[in-house]
Amino acid sequence: MQNGDQHYSMEDETYTDIDGKAISLECQSHSGFCREFTVSSAKVSIGRVMAYTCAVWLSAYIIFFVTENTAVLSSAIIITLVGMMVHIHFVKVDHETLLIIGSLGVQVSSSYASGRESTDFIEMGKIKDIVINEAIHMVRKIKDMVINEAIHMVRKIKDIVINEAIHMQTVIYYLCILLKDPSDPEAVSSVVPLFQSSKPRLNCLVKVYKSCQEILAKC
């Protein structure tokens, strides 16, 4: 660790993502205009790994018991191994980092459970702004359809029913970078959402947003 940077993680406040799982935020300030934010999601849980492995092997044993073919067992082993390797190398994101360097640009990187890192650097000249956007996240459950039907049929109890309907959808917030088109500096050409795998909640995003705006304002 460096004695030079201010390095602090939010110990007093525990952050969660939109599904309720615990995540952690780490802010590192390397200089007056360079800050790094790391959001770490939950690691691969050993319980789930064991559950999946046991399920696959149990079904393989049952099929072997029925068909007496040893190829089933070896293919089950191979499938489990390959599936685990693919999962930790391509799917499971360990932590996501946002490095903002004033007047140079913003670097967004995701680090997977196997150690692979995928990085993207956006120049300051292309960035219009960093904002928090709202989105409505539809929770696809049968409950919702029933409630919706109830709204149509029971129009008398308007107030109570509509209030409950709004609570069934969740509103999520995500931090994103607005890019500007080089030919038209006023228009927003595209949006790059950040922290897509960790999906932190608004309190975490607000801290990151405030720090980023400080730096963007300076340069």
């Binding site: 030079g4 200089s31 490095l99 292309k126 340069c219």
Partner: protein, 559 residues
């Protein structure tokens, strides 16, 4: 704005000297290219810099051996900018030693010199070549461009006896390899020889004898001839005596060369394996019995159709006619095969040698041999399809007559029409006949279409693998795996450890191109074999009885 200084890593351990670099206007950044060591004569230095015609090279800052002073001086001093020719002096901004407002970005000069940037343009990576002027120069592109354009500056280093002694990425020794130099020397005569042979070959191919109608038709149907012409074109591209200057052309040549080399070596391996224990003789000996076996199976199938297939009741007369017709065809085919059987081994032996030209040729040959051996299945399919098609069209037209309507060819729609009584009578009779004959023709059509589809799928798999071998960019993939900095998608930064109160130090690394983007960008365009129709259109054609040719060859793209 914060001042950004790009500093090459190779100069970190250099002796004290003067920094030479370039100023990027508008971004408040300076790219340091080399360090000129003491002692030197300032006049000579300026002359040399003008000589190597580096536009806008500025002499800025002093590199002193202790690290601490480097940072202070680097942030403090700012020299003038001199344009080649004129004496326009522009003072740099932020001359003061504000340590907080300086960023040092370390970069590996060798990697930046050798890498090719692929900025994402509308989601598609596009390698920037010197010939095309980039529409929008991004910051990273300008930094890379600055370093690459200063190549003349790197010709002299501190071990040469020139007027100036410099340290840069080449000063540890000029990059080079004996093998590469020897190959470069040898390549010119080899290229000339190959080009001459290729021109001979193409003139032979386009001679009048080989261009007569029947030969042209046959050679356009055989995939081996197609592959041959395609490879000839490729070789012409590779062996052209002009050097490839643009990055795209160089990569295209390299990819074609490597894939051709791998193809030929795999083909030679296959040939050596096949000819070793006279396997090719054994293969030829099994070919005739295999054809016999297929014919016997077909005969049994027809006998089954002529009986009561799957419990369905066929129209006896039509059934017998069609069955006997096809049986006679099979008999002809078997006699033909038996006639050819003494020559098959010799033909196969010589034709198999052409697999030396490459694995793709062996696969195309296999596809052609399959097509020739299953020619009777193709014929049966055509007969069955035509019969079925006629039945269906007749039925649809008579059905309209039954309802009192007619197809208006002029207006391309169905109109009502009043028919005479005898027209209606004959039409109804014919409709009934065709309707009751439909199951028989439909069953024959179904059986032979399925057989034809099996053969087409097999040929399709072979063509797809040939296409894959032709178009896969092996050289670019090898470059991405072993020298990943050569193909760059962008850059990435890493914060280096630092002391408090000093300017920020970052390390700029090359972010290599993603594997999928490599394949997409550097694919060699081929006469790719792709399905012509969507699934729905295919099913519709099958239902109506139109002849299907599911694979279509694209004509070679001209770049």
């Amino acid at each position: 704005m914060v001042l950004k200084i790009f500093f090459p890593q190779c100069c970190n351990k250099a002796d004290s000297g003067l920094l030479v670099g370039r100023w990027i206007p508008g971004q408040n950044s300076a790219v340091v290219l080399a360090v000129i060591h003491y002692p030197f004569i300032p006049g000579q230095v300026k002359q040399y810099i003008h000589q190597v015609e580096c536009v806008c090279v500025s002499v800025n800052g002093k590199l002193v051996q202790q690290e601490k002073e480097l940072k202070e001086d680097g942030g403090g001093e700012k020299g003038g900018t001199k344009r080649g020719g004129g004496e326009k002096e522009v003072e740099g901004e932020e001359g003061g030693g504000e340590k907080d407002k300086v960023i040092f970005i370390h970069y590996e000069q060798r990697k930046v010199m050798l890498s090719q940037l692929h900025p994402i343009d509308n989601g598609v990576p596009d390698p920037q070549t010197e010939s095309q002027l980039p529409q929008v120069t991004t910051y990273v592109l300008s930094v890379f461009g600055t370093v690459c354009q200063s190549e003349p500056l790197f010709f002299l280093d501190k071990y040469d006896d020139g007027p100036v002694k410099m340290t840069h990425w080449q000063s540890e020794g000029r990059e080079g390899s004996i093998i590469v130099e020897l190959m470069k020397q040898a390549s010119t005569p080899v290229c000339l020889l190959t080009t001459w042979m290729l021109t001979l070959w193409t003139s032979l191919c386009s001679s009048r004898i080989l261009n007569m109608r029947p030969m042209r038709f046959i050679s356009s149907k055989l995939s081996t001839c197609l592959q041959l012409s395609y490879r000839t074109e490729h070789l012409q591209t590779v062996c052209s005596p002009t050097r490839a200057t643009a990055h795209n052309h160089f990569m295209r040549k390299a990819n074609i060369f490597v894939s051709f080399f791998v193809d030929v070596s795999l083909g030679l391996l296959l040939v050596s394996w096949m000819y070793r224990e006279n396997r090719i003789g054994k293969l030829a000996n099994t070919l005739v019995p295999a054809a016999d076996h297929v014919a016997k199976e077909l005969e049994e199938l027809l006998q089954w159709l002529m009986g009561a297939p799957a419990g369905l009741k066929m129209n006896r007369a039509l059934d017998q006619v069609l069955g006997r017709f096809f049986l006679y065809h099979i008999h002809l085919w078997i006699s033909y095969i038996h006639l050819m059987s003494p020559f098959i081994e010799m033909i196969l032996w010589y034709v198999g040698l052409s697999a030396c030209l490459g694995l793709t040729f062996a696969l195309s040959l296999l596809s052609d041999i399959t097509a020739l051996l299953t020619f009777h299945i193709y014929c049966f399919y055509v007969y069955g399809a035509r019969l079925y098609c006629m039945t269906v069209y007749g039925l649809s037209s008579l059905w309209r007559l039954f309802r009192g309507k007619k197809w208006n060819v002029l207006r391309q729609r169905v109109d009502s029409c009043s028919y005479d009584l005898d027209q209606l009578f004959i039409g109804t009779l014919l409709f009934t006949i065709l309707l009751f004959l439909l199951p028989t023709t439909a069953l024959y059509y179904l059986v032979f279409t399925l057989l034809r589809l099996v053969v087409v799928m097999f040929q399709g798999v072979l063509h797809l693998s040939v296409d894959f071998i032709n178009s896969f960019p092996l050289f670019a993939m090898g470059l991405r795996l072993f020298r990943s900095y050569r193909l760059a998608e962008g850059v990435k930064f890493r914060v280096l450890c630092e002391e408090p109160g000093t300017p920020l130090h970052l390390m700029m690394d090359i972010n290599p191109l993603k594997v999928s983007s490599v394949v997409q960008t550097y694919r060699t365009p081929t006469y790719s074999c792709y399905p012509k129709d969507s699934w729905l259109a295919l099913c519709k054609k099958l239902f109506l009885g139109e002849l299907i040719y599911p694979w279509r060859h694209k004509t070679t793209k001209i770049d």
